[in-house]
């Protein structure tokens, strides 16, 4: 290969050619993703906007624009309001339990040497299990007359509780099952955060007199886990808000609507009653909450102190 000395013009044009190739390649690589982005997210979103402003029913022929009537109806609908409330109550129970339970377990497991692996596996098992399958098992576990939980209560002298058929306990029971499922996942995240805290900080604290469990937790562990905790809280909130599976399989929204949650109502309206326009509006309300949570997450993560 001869060493050809490029003239300045040739250099410029070869550079420009390279840039052009890079541009084309970049677009080419991104094209499938871009196409899917449009087809599976953007276009549907646009359609959803349109639908939410109509009274379209799937399978029907009429389509009238009704403006914001769907939204007004949704916000005034007692079923939807109850549904929102249920969802928020569910979040309010599941998030503290799932986050602080996981934090406690992570702190306890963190310093074990021989048993740590074993506990990690046991606590993570529910995360991998198919919730629908386990839902059946939970139904049986909590059965008023056949289940061992009530068996234990009876043995202790209490009256049996019909966990899933009592309106006052059904939602909380679902929340406990939700905690059961997510605890291991959050625990792993907290373990990662705990491992990131340098060991010599604890040693320096030991010499400084900060050696009791409470002191160490308040002075070092909790502050340095801040970003991790924030992340876990927000992720758990989003996961909790999306609850659907256990309701669809175990309670179908009952008893007397005490476990009807937002996503379940959206499913019913959209895919059982086919009130498509109305369901679209509900979906936007659902999305609004998710976006608020996600925004809070980004905001909190950005604000985290850069140590």
């Amino acid at each position: 290969m001869t060493l050809a000395l490029d003239t300045p013009m040739q250099l410029v044009s070869s550079r420009r050619r390279r840039l052009w190739i890079e541009r084309v390649t970049g677009l080419g690589f991104a094209a499938p993703a871009l196409l899917l982005l449009v087809l599976t997210i953007l276009a549907p979103l646009a359609v959803l906007v349109v639908l939410s402003l109509t009274n379209y029913e799937f399978g029907g022929v009429d389509l009238d624009f009704v403006g914001l009537a769907n939204f007004q109806k949704a916000l005034a609908d007692p079923i939807i309001r109850r549904s929102l409330l249920n969802t928020l109550i569910y979040v309010a129970i599941m998030v503290p339990g799932g986050v602080f339970g996981a934090l406690l377990i992570a702190i306890l497991i963190h310093r074990r040497t021989r048993t740590r692996s074993l506990y990690e596996v046991i606590y993570f098992l529910p995360v991998t299990s198919t919730l629908i399958a386990m839902a059946t098992v939970w139904q049986f576990l909590l059965h008023p007359s056949l289940g061992p939980v009530n068996g234990l209560l009876k043995w202790l002298g209490f009256a049996p509780i019909a966990f899933l058929s009592e309106p006052s306990t059904a939602l909380a029971t679902l929340a406990v099952i939700g905690i059961w499922q997510i605890l291991g996942f959050n625990m792993i995240l907290f373990l990662a955060g705990l491992t990131a805290i340098p060991r010599d900080l604890y040693e320096a604290a030991d010499i400084d007199g900060c050696s009791g469990g409470i002191d160490r937790f308040l002075t070092i562990t909790w502050p340095l886990l801040g970003p991790t905790t924030m992340f876990v809280v927000i992720t758990t909130m989003i996961t909790a808000f999306k609850i659907f599976d256990t309701v669809a399989v175990m309670t179908r929204g009952g008893p007397v609507g005490s476990t009807e949650v937002l996503l379940y109502n959206i499913y019913l309206e959209g895919f059982q009653y086919f009130h498509t326009g109305y369901a679209a509006a509900l979906t936007f309300i659902f999305l609004a909450f998710i976006l608020v949570f996600s925004a809070a997450q980004t905001f909190a993560l950005d604000k985290k102190v850069h140590y």
């Binding site: 970049g26 549907p44 098992l125 629908i132 399958a133 098992v137 792993i188 369901a279």
Partner: protein
Amino acid sequence: MSASPPLVATVSSAHSAARRFLSLVLIHGVLIAGALFMLAPFIWMLVTSIKPPAEIFSAEIALWPKQFYGVENYRFAMEKAPLLRFALNGVILCAGILVVQLLVAIPCAYALAKLDFPGRNLLFVLVLLGLCIPVQVPAMPLYIGLAQLGLLNTYFAMMVPFFLSVFAIFLFRQFFRSFPDDIINAARLDGMSEFEIVWRIVTPSAWPAIAAFAVFSIVAHWNDLYWPLIVISDAKLAPPPLGMMFFADAETGSNYGALTAAATILTAPLVLAFLIARRRFIDGITMTGVK
């Protein structure tokens, strides 16, 4: 400093040894209690699946079956519902989704990380926005579209919304960004096409991230109920969660022996995979958190 005679020294060291033992008992007590809570459903599921109906419906609650009825329960479950078919559907679904996800996300992530092209920033903003939008949001329009195209009740329909994983794009982009430019430039000088560079040089280096994502994707889609519920009504195509729901419906919830047998069969693949590839699972979760 006050004088401390040896006697006090031994007493206080015995004290602290006792205190250490007590705290250890307390710690493991809490951990074991929690572990029992975690394991209770699994244990009950396995135990019930081998009990005869008489024992299941008896008033007294016992852990271990007096009569081994496992074969009957499992056979009944397998006959009544195509459980293995459900599991197979799960495998097809997860594999299909994962393959396309990787094929789409890796080049896109590489382009976002290393190449300059018009619209790059816009694309990245869209990716970030996509992270905030769960699949339940575009579900309805997608359903309508698929219905119009007559594509309901197909494997394709079950996979479509998931082909694009913005999470994968985001994750891999982070990884690729830290890949040294020098190696890429050297490869270019050696005459490698960009396509080859992506698949033969950069992708192998991101193997931990890819494996972690694969775990994440498989677990999520094996256990997904919402979307399959919407697009599938034919039990032959049902993935495990949907299959379980069909089965439980058909059984009108009274044959707990068969139900728990079915639950065991459907839960087993993932649980076994987890027990075998523990490290991968846990690293995968950690990576999503470290993001």
